[in-house]
C-alpha cells in the first residue's frame, strides 16, 4: 500500500506532481480545471434547454398533453435516487478527508448502486416508450396525443434525458475507477482530489436532473 499519509524524508509522495508548488496548489488547480469543464457542460446542456424553451413556447398545449405520457412517479423516484447518490458522494469525500478509507469506499459503492438504480428505472421508462412508439421525429408512431407535432416533445425528451443518461453512465465508469483506486489506498486526507472533482461532476449531473424533472414530468 502506497501510504500517502507519511512523507518522511526528501521524496515527495507519489501523487504529488513536481510542477506544483505544494499540495494545496495542486488541488486548487485540479478543481479549477474541473469547474471550467463544468462550465462547458452547462453550456452543452444549455443548448437543449434553449430548444426546450423555444418549442414549449411555440406549442404550450401540446407539451401539456404530451407530458401525460410520462409517469411522474418514475421521474420523482429517480430524482430522490439521484439526490441520495449526491449525499453519499459528498459523504464519501468527507470520509477520505477524515482518513476513513473503508467507509469512503463503501459510500462510493452506494453512490454507484444509486446510479445503477437510476439507469434501470430509466430503462423501464424508455422501453415502454419504444414499445408504444412515443419516439423522436419521424420514428413517432403513437396516436393518442392531441395537439400539433407531439413528436417534438419526445425528440426533446429523449435528447435531454438521453444526454443526461450518458452523463450518468460516464459518472458510473469514473466511480468504478475511483473505487478501484481507493481500494489500493490511493486516497486519504492528504490526497483525495480525484474523488472530489468526480463529486463536482456528479453533483452537476444531479443538478441538471433537478431541472429536467419538473420541466418534463410536472408540466401544467
Amino acid at each position: 500500500m502506497s501510504n500517502n499519509q507519511e512523507h518522511k524524508g526528501a521524496h515527495p509522495p507519489e501523487w504529488f506532481q513536481h510542477h506544483f508548488t505544494d499540495a494545496e496548489q495542486q488541488q486548487e488547480s485540479a478543481k479549477l480545471g474541473m469547474w471550467v469543464f463544468l462550465l462547458t457542460e452547462i453550456l452543452f446542456f444549455g443548448g437543449l434547454f434553449c430548444a426546450y424553451a423555444i418549442y414549449r413556447a411555440w406549442h404550450p398545449d401540446m407539451f401539456i398533453n404530451a407530458h401525460t405520457a410520462l409517469d411522474w412517479r418514475m421521474g420523482g423516484l429517480n430524482t430522490i435516487v439521484l439526490i441520495v447518490s449526491s449525499i453519499t458522494m459528498a459523504m464519501s469525500i468527507r470520509s477520505f478527508q477524515l482518513n476513513q478509507q473503508k467507509q469512503g469506499v463503501m459510500l462510493l459503492v452506494v453512490t454507484l448502486m444509486c446510479a445503477a438504480t437510476f439507469m434501470v428505472i430509466k430503462y423501464f421508462e424508455y422501453s415502454h416508450k419504444f414499445h408504444v412508439g412515443q419516439l423522436p421525429g419521424k420514428f413517432y408512431t403513437f396516436t393518442g396525443i392531441e395537439g400539433t407535432n407531439p413528436h417534438i416533445f419526445f425528440s426533446i425528451y429523449f435528447l435531454m434525458t438521453g444526454l443526461h443518461g450518458i452523463h450518468v453512465l460516464v459518472g458510473m465508469g469514473v466511480i468504478i475507477w475511483l473505487i478501484m483506486r481507493a481500494k489500493k489506498g490511493h486516497f486519504g486526507p492528504a490526497y483525495y482530489t480525484p474523488v472530489e472533482v468526480t463529486g463536482l461532476y456528479w453533483h452537476l449531473v444531479d443538478m441538471v436532473w433537478i431541472f429536467l424533472f419538473p420541466l418534463f414530468y410536472l408540466i401544467g
Partner: protein, 184 residues
C-alpha cells in the same frame, strides 16, 4: 521537516455530517413539495413555482455539496458566469422565436391595401393574392383568419412542413410573398 510536511499536507474544510444529511433531507423534501404543487392547477404559475423550487435546490447543491460556499470564490464566479451566458443565450433566442409570427401578421393585415408602404415592403396586398398558389395564400389565410399571434405563429411554422423552424420558415414565406409581384 515541518516545512516538508506542510508542503504535502492539506488543510481541508471538513463539513459536519449533519450538514450533508440536513441538505440532503431538504432536497428530498423540496422534491415532494414540487410534486405536490404540480397537482394543484395554477396556470402559468405552475412553471414559475416549479422553476423556483428547482433553482433553490440547485443553489443548495452548489453551495454545500459542491462546496462553493467554502471554496475559492473563483469557482463560484466560473459557475455563475456560465449561467449568465446561458441566460443571455436563451433570452435573446426567445426574443427572436417568440416574435417571429408578428411580422407576418402585420404584413397580412393592411389597413389600406394600396398604400405605398407595401411597395417598399415588397409585399403584395391581400387582394392581389388571388390565383396564386402556395405560401402566400397560406400566410394570408393564417393572418386574416383573426387568429391570435400564437395561431399565426403556429401556422407559419407548420407551413414549412418540417420542424427545423428558423431560417427555413423565413425563407419560405419571403419567397411566397414575392412571387405574386413577379407574376403580375
Amino acid at each position: 521537516m515541518s516545512q516538508l510536511t506542510d508542503k504535502y499536507s492539506h488543510h481541508a474544510h471538513i463539513l459536519p455530517l449533519k450538514v450533508y444529511l440536513g441538505i440532503g433531507g431538504t432536497l428530498i423534501f423540496m422534491t415532494l413539495v414540487t410534486v405536490a404543487v404540480a397537482q394543484v392547477h395554477l396556470g402559468p404559475f405552475n412553471l414559475l413555482v416549479a422553476l423556483a423550487i428547482a433553482v433553490f435546490k440547485a443553489i443548495l447543491v452548489g453551495l454545500f455539496f459542491m462546496h462553493l460556499k467554502y471554496d475559492n470564490k473563483l469557482f463560484a464566479v466560473i459557475f455563475v458566469s456560465s449561467l449568465a451566458f446561458l441566460g443571455i443565450f436563451i433570452s435573446i433566442t426567445l426574443f427572436d422565436t417568440l416574435r417571429r409570427g408578428d411580422i407576418y401578421q402585420e404584413v397580412g393585415m393592411p389597413i389600406k391595401a394600396n398604400s405605398n408602404m407595401y411597395d417598399s415592403l415588397r409585399v403584395a396586398p391581400a387582394h392581389g393574392a388571388s390565383g396564386h398558389e402556395g405560401a402566400t395564400d397560406k400566410a394570408t389565410e393564417s393572418v386574416t383568419s383573426g387568429d391570435d399571434s400564437s395561431g399565426a405563429k403556429a401556422t407559419g411554422h407548420e407551413g414549412t412542413g418540417n420542424d427545423s423552424g428558423g431560417a427555413k420558415d423565413t425563407g419560405h414565406v419571403a419567397t411566397g410573398v414575392e412571387s405574386p409581384k413577379s407574376g403580375h
